[in-house]
Symmetry: C2
Subunit: 150 residues, 2 copies
């Protein structure tokens, strides 16, 4: 199945979707952030077909989001690069939205904490230059130097 | 075409993807955040097929992300609800990642600013309870009370 690529759109959101917008990709990245590295572990965790998993992993390696390394025991490992780690705010933002708007009746699922002191991080939000959290209506677009699509 | 739904996964990220994970949906939401409200304006901005646009908008209305209203001139308008506005950190995080990792050679595209003073917002990141921005490696998982899939 071929999708229309969003790559031609001169928009940073479309560019990002071109890399991570395919079904399963964000769940693969979620598992990578939680420490999964082996093909068989992704497969078992996600219940995903081998060919789809292989295709998604190959794409993430090609984009420099995952690094494919050979483990000393011979199997391949997939490890987040710095570029991949930079996707953390995307995943945290989605997770916090799901926590708030599609809550688990049994309570919060994963919580994310500051490694230094174990305190939960703040809910993801825009932050002003002086550090104030900004509600959605407090943010606006500040000019569009090169922001046209197509 | 039927996709496997992620709804059964007891994971906030999967729950969010179940709402916004379809192709085009985030670009529709981008346009909604930039002020687009009419079907014909989404269609023109995105170059998307009518039936796909109609299906994605209907889903977002059913999920309470967009509110469908009748304009005084008779046409329908699609407006972000508070639940929809809460997706702003997801879109900003994706946009900032695209700005950094797939930059426009001619410079930054859209910039997002604090409405109060016009200053650009900070790059999206996790933020500690005391307000410090946290790099990806400074964040970890703090317990999984109900975090199992399936």
């Amino acid at each position: 199945m071929k999708y229309k690529s969003f790559e031609h759109m001169n928009c940073s959101l479309a560019q990002t979707l071109d890399v991570i917008g395919e079904r399963w990709t964000l769940l693969i990245l979620r598992d990578a952030f939680l420490g999964t590295q082996r093909f068989s572990d992704f497969e078992r965790s996600l219940g995903i077909a081998k060919n789809i998993l292989a295709s998604r992993l190959a794409r993430l390696v090609a984009e420099g989001v995952l690094d494919k390394r050979k483990h000393e025991h011979g199997h391949a490992e997939y490890v987040l690069t710095d570029k991949g780690l930079d996707l953390q705010p995307v995943l945290l933002s989605m997770t916090h939205w799901g926590d708030k708007h599609r809550p688990d009746p049994h309570g919060v699922r994963l919580t994310f904490v500051d490694r230094r002191d174990g305190q939960p991080i703040r809910p993801m939000s825009a932050v002003a230059a002086d550090g104030r959290p900004l509600a959605p209506r407090e943010v606006t677009v500040g000019g569009r130097p090169g922001g046209q699509d197509r």
